[in-house]
Symmetry: C2
């Protein structure tokens, strides 16, 4: 079963990478951009048929490794 995770910086944490991308896009004459924030995306293919169990495992992975909960939030989603 494939499960995806999106990890984003918490709202109040500065995102210099996103700011740089915004400035670069403005330099390429994309206007009207209010804000850009960058996050991470993981696609996890796990050998577990029970959806609930698989999501539980992925949640644990996020808490222990994939996300730094001090500054990041994560969300388990369907893979795109």
């Amino acid at each position: 079963m494939k499960i995806a995770v999106i990890v984003t910086l918490k709202k109040d944490v500065l995102d210099p990478q996103g700011t740089t991308i915004k400035k670069t896009l403005e330099g390429m004459s994309f206007n009207n951009i209010n804000n850009i924030r960058q996050g991470k995306y993981f696609e996890i293919d796990i050998d577990e048929k029970n959806k609930k169990k698989a999501e539980e495992k992925v949640n644990e992975m996020c808490k222990k490794l994939l996300a730094n909960l001090v500054i990041e939030d994560y969300k388990v989603v369907k893979p795109e």
Copy 2:
């Protein structure tokens, strides 16, 4: 209007970062992982009320800066 983009490596492109994460998780005794691939997530807040126009702009940003279409695919999605 907020629009999100997920950028992933194409299926046949090696993802050493994903492999490292997989090995690390296995070292933390998470078993049954078939595969992990890492991608990027962008949340773009654009000053454009027309959804179609906003998505067109974001598509153009992806083609010109956010994604390297030689090795990456991107998908415009609703922000999480």
